[in-house]
Symmetry: C2
Subunit: 126 residues, 2 copies
């Protein structure tokens, strides 16, 4: 079997409002435009589906042997410091043949913070 | 009295972990570098101080007659759809002489979503 491309999970908080997911769906589309063929799934900590376990299970079932998890969170709070490591430990135990990589949250990416700062400056100038 | 420059409040969720505020402090510094002299305050919905009312009160007391509030939230959930409008209504009632402007959340800014997508693609390539 040909080796599958790496896969990606965008991990976000979740909310009761369906429109809450729109920015994450937009980021997913932008990534797939930049990297056609990359498998990109959304996953949510609470309220929304799929969960991280469901999204990872689907990618593993599809044959992806390497999955990168990107926390689409701004800050390092309890969700990232306690909940997410536990979820990733569970995934590693359940899928020992899958290489799981966890990136820093988007709020630790200089390029993202710089883009936010630039957008805010433009917003306040109007 | 010379008219004061506009002022800006970066409004974020808040968390128990002090380091949670680091990305917002970083964004604040980046904005002040781009716009020296612009008054920029952080404010938090819960747990952390100052509250939005406290931050706005300080800026009004400092003589700023126009304040832009930027929700540093990704998605439109209950906090932005219900909590923030109520807080802004309270501010408008308390400070009728102050022009309060509310921007869309950062998660609705194309430039921000594009920067996140680009950063994620680079992160998964490594």
């Amino acid at each position: 079997m040909a080796e599958k491309t790496p896969a990606l999970i965008l991990f976000a908080h979740g909310a009761r409002e369906a429109e809450w997911a729109l920015p994450f769906e937009s980021i997913r589309r932008r990534i797939m435009t930049r990297r056609p063929g990359l498998a990109v799934e959304l996953a949510f900590l609470e309220i929304m589906q799929p969960t991280l376990a469901e999204a990872a299970g689907k990618l593993v079932a599809d044959g992806h042997a390497a999955i990168t998890i990107v926390p689409v969170f701004m800050g390092q709070g309890g969700h990232l410091k306690r909940d997410l490591p536990r979820l990733v430990d569970d995934l590693r135990a359940r899928h020992p043949g899958t290489a799981l990589t966890l990136t820093p949250p988007i709020g630790e990416a200089d390029a993202v913070l710089e883009a936010i700062g630039e957008w805010v400056v433009n917003a306040v100038s109007c």
